[in-house]
Subunit: 463 residues, 3 copies
């Protein structure tokens, strides 16, 4: 029994053939949070801490849970006032805290495969790690565009607010660089009156589009304009986040009344829920019209730590999943648009109990539905295994949407896709060994799960 | 690594002895939806499509989710206007969509073991499949009674509305054929005021029994009459479906008031829930009196696709499970009758989270409770594994109710029982290899899970 | 395939090294329900039935579910009127009912390792078992203190009502015996107005402390006095049980009004929930002040069988888990105190769906939170596996609280800790074989999970 090579998930013998078959397929990343300006400007990443630690809420939440103040990790501090080496040292001192977590898998894979580091990270080797990574970041091979290429990315989607000018995307497209980076339309702040930005963003939306957003009809036109701009910039999908999934087809006149009210003062919870619940249905109908695939991410209760929220803002590691009722929550939307063959909706859950109970039966019935891959906390070796265990028997493979990494940690993208591919190979190897199907079927499904289902679900082919 | 023989689930080496021990035990099928007229009339099945595809909501829901219109599968079309060969061809073209699903296991098992088909089903072999199956269906060996015998069925229970005249059952019993086919009393439409058939069925109930069903007392007498008729026809059990499990012991006078109201116009949701919640307790009390085992199936949200419901009716693949609260939902019923040693209630859930959390602790306490086998979507290789994983440690084996296939797909019965037996053998083999008990205990438990627990729970012995 | 030695869980080959490493580490039992008077008086246990069957609700609930009346097991009967040999015989006759349950594992382990019994328990060997155990109980080696020592207990915590005089604990500490037995502060009956004992216990609290408990301010002082007394007696922790987790920071004046009302007549459900919800926050704040670790056990719906409750009281095997919402339930408490580095709260759930969805993300964020081990029904081989599967990837290992046995069945303590250690070894062996980390990390984590995390979480070091 020896230590495994760092960052390598072992595979059952019968899964290796499958893994070899898919290991080197180019990466399709149809949903994530990388910053398009990296690729527009192609400037070097600042330092190891800013690249690997400070923006990664998987990493700093764990350190915080172990008593490390966020301030000591440079959060809330301007880059020029931070001591990145010291931050990296603190991280290294707590490296064992990540044992057993996907963060450790991803980072080990990154250290080994991207930076060529071979000795384990310890407080003693922290400076060596820091120096080597820092030096590499200063080389041309580690600029964003070069990494995009060496990672073998076929396409990378970013996520962009509805009001985003998409200038970085335009700059990329107007450059002579060939990397395919596309935006995703994320209009939560102009759809959900519970968003703190709703009122100012509605005014901005009016300005941008020249529409009177206090008229429900014109508000819809304004949204259609934005969607068209995104589509023109290469977008193939929208994205919607909702805490407790709820949809309802209330009348246009009720919407007009709620809209007027919402532009003056915050709606109460029930009113905001109604408004957003109707707007999700309108978004689905616009998707039928313009062909943008609709993504729904439900069930994250955001910013539960109000102290940290006030000090540092959103995405501070205190977004906690809650139970979700997909069946009754989506019923009005699906009954309005769900039988339309032109619609694709991809669903993401953090409540794994809904995999077998709700989502697989729903995806195994409605023509419009596809199940997104294991999301967030569940994008992990066990999470992937539980996902396949729970969804395949009822939804099959063709109702899935392949994989996406959903990350802002650019360097982790190859690691995440590799972990998924190992999870796919492990799953399919087990299916073969149980006698469910043979190798040729397994290899076809492996390719689907690695690339083709994502291309198909996100309508990325030949665009 | 070669393709496995079609439809064969492999077993861990140490499980094979157990499987061999139970493989050929006659099939006990105490809950299902076969049509008793098949066995009363014993006419040949019409064609492969009508036998295998059109009535199987597992099959057509998957095809529908993949963009196949239900019309193209002959649903909603009179048999004489369908093109069954074309329907079978469409099915064959989408056969890979079923990879990894129990439907594929069952159908492969049926093709191989019932029809002797050995080459894989593909669009190219579809005609060969169709012709061979069609030809066999025309032979005496493939008439319903002959299949019943060649499947090794010891007993088969059907499910029959409370108002059913049971003439087919009478015909079977009055024939010289010895197959044991018994009815099951399913009175939902005369218990649940939310049923669209409630008012007409209540009138029919009055007519059938000569009781004034607008009097609560006489209504109960009418139900007792029906139960007695079912019992006389061989029934040993009742069956009750409820969306969100709820029981409450409201007073007779409240029931009288609700009953009067319900016979005139639909009750609101809360009133209907109260009424049905009390009637379930009365059903349990009648079970104590007449000895019929009570089955409760909870948690299926029916016909969520209203468009398909309006076009094609119930059971169109859009019945989706929801979360269920067994603990508080059943408390009033159990506190009224649950300590009675003469009562048996078998519970079925689609919410697997309740296996370990609620149902196993309840079955491991209340003398009246037995857990039914994995239901519907969970009657699958992984579903069976999750069931044993979650229930046995708390409920043990003796509080389970063995297996039932719950199917209207007659030809899949041997396949389903075989899959269960392989699941049992796999589970018990693992228990042995973990050191939980030895082979002799495992073989005893295997026999219990295959036959004896079902015989005992459903009171089928020596009737 | 031979029968395994009784009570021995087999391990995958690669896990054995880990198990050997932790097998003989002294037992830390920081939460449980042993009776301190056993160790204060050190008198012999009365007989095998009173020791092993009558107080064990895991055992008698299973027998009850199988039709054995509790009366026949001696429940509700004074010890001198019982026939313990007959009770043991009934138990032996139903011994197969426990196949596959942890109760059987624990008892087999106890029979083999504590009493040296090697042949299987059957109705025929029941008398031999009874005689041998009975004879051993009369020897000095089987007195409570001697067993404590031979079990290798480093520390054992009991659970004691807030009003407990702690005389047995004082007697132990004043004796010349060195065994470390400490109390745990369990104040539910003086915090939760829904407790049937609330009013009398509040009066008793007033008497004991000399505080006017009808004044909210003085009531808090009275509680502080009790906590101080427990701390002086060696307590390092409190324990709180709550059915549906709910906390809210209502005002002092609202609390004063509710308090006054509660002392006169039972509060309604909503009022009692509010009162208890505020008191849990106060308990957390007192924990910050006095350093007592806070334990919260949520989600057991108690005494669901009212007939048995009326006849026999609490803890009759009819406590059934329900779904719990930790996220919204704890939010007010955590937002008040959760960022305080001096606070430790250990959470226990019976709703396993919250492991990955809620508890692991919460423990992986909040510095104060630790996850307790699998509780009650889930303290089992599969329960332990599911726990590690669901929590480690998000919470890591350092946010866990190690193991505790939570038992009143003193003789089962070594068996329960051994099962945990085998579960730990199995889990870590699998982690190694998957390549997640190597043996040296695994051995460190094994030691943490066996002893050090419990010592640390419960602040037991060097006290």
């Amino acid at each position: 029994m020896t230590n495994a090579p760092m960052g390598t998930i072992h595979l059952p013998a019968h899964a290796d053939t499958i893994y070899q078959h898919i290991r080197d397929i180019p990466i399709v990343s149809p949903h994530g949070h990388c910053d398009p300006s990296w690729f527009a400007k192609n400037t070097a990443f600042r330092d190891p801490a800013e690249l690997l630690i400070i923006p990664d809420h998987y990493v700093f939440r764990m350190l915080y849970s172990q008593g490390v103040p966020l301030e000591s990790l440079g959060l809330g501090t301007p880059p020029e006032e931070r001591d990145p080496r010291k931050i990296f040292k603190i991280f290294a001192e707590h490296w064992n805290r990540f044992l057993g977590t996907p963060s450790r898998q991803w980072l080990e894979h990154t250290f080994t495969n991207v930076f060529g580091l071979t000795e384990p990270l310890t407080p003693k080797t922290a400076d060596h790690y820091y120096d080597l990574i820092d030096a590499k970041l200063k080389t041309p091979e580690f600029r964003p565009r070069a990494l995009f290429e060496s990672f073998g990315l076929e396409v990378l989607a970013t996520t962009d607010g509805a009001l985003d000018s998409l200038t970085h995307h335009a700059a990329i497209q107007n450059s002579d660089w060939q990397g395919r980076i596309i935006p995703t339309f994320r209009p939560d702040t102009v759809l959900n009156p519970a968003s703190p930005d709703f009122i100012p963003h509605m005014h901005q939306l009016a300005e941008m589009t020249g529409e009177d957003t206090s008229s429900f009809k014109n508000y819809l036109s304004a949204l259609r304009q934005c969607r068209a701009a995104f589509k023109a910039a290469g977008a193939t999908a929208t994205d919607h986040a909702i805490t407790e999934i709820y949809t309802e087809q209330i009348s246009d006149s009720d919407m007009q009344a709620l809209l007027q009210k919402a532009l003056n003062a915050p709606l109460d919870h029930a009113e905001a829920t109604l408004f957003y619940g109707r707007m999700l249905i309108d978004m689905a109908q616009m998707s039928i019209d313009d062909g943008l695939v609709m993504q729904i991410h439900a069930g994250s209760y955001r910013s539960t730590n109000r102290t940290l929220f006030k000090r540092f803002g959103n995405d501070m590691g205190a977004d906690i999943p809650i139970a979700v009722d997909w069946v009754r929550g989506l019923a009005p939307l699906l009954n309005k648009v769900g039988n339309n063959p032109d619609l694709t909706i991809i669903l993401f859950t953090l409540d794994e109990t809904t995999y077998a109970r709700e989502l697989a039966p729903m995806a195994g019935h409605w023509p419009c539905l596809r199940l997104g891959p294991p999301w967030w906390f569940h994008d992990s070796l066990n999470g992937i295994a539980r996902y396949f265990d729970a969804v395949v028997e009822t939804a099959g493979y063709w109702n899935l949407a392949g994989f996406n990494d959903d990350t802002r940690a650019f360097l982790s993208i190859p690691a995440r896709h590799d972990l998924w591919r190992r999870g796919v190979a492990t799953h399919l190897g087990t299916q073969i060994s149980r006698g469910l199907f043979g190798q040729s079927d397994a290899l076809e499904i492996a390719r689907l799960l690695t690339r083709d289902l994502a291309i198909d679900a996100y309508r990325l082919r030949g665009v």
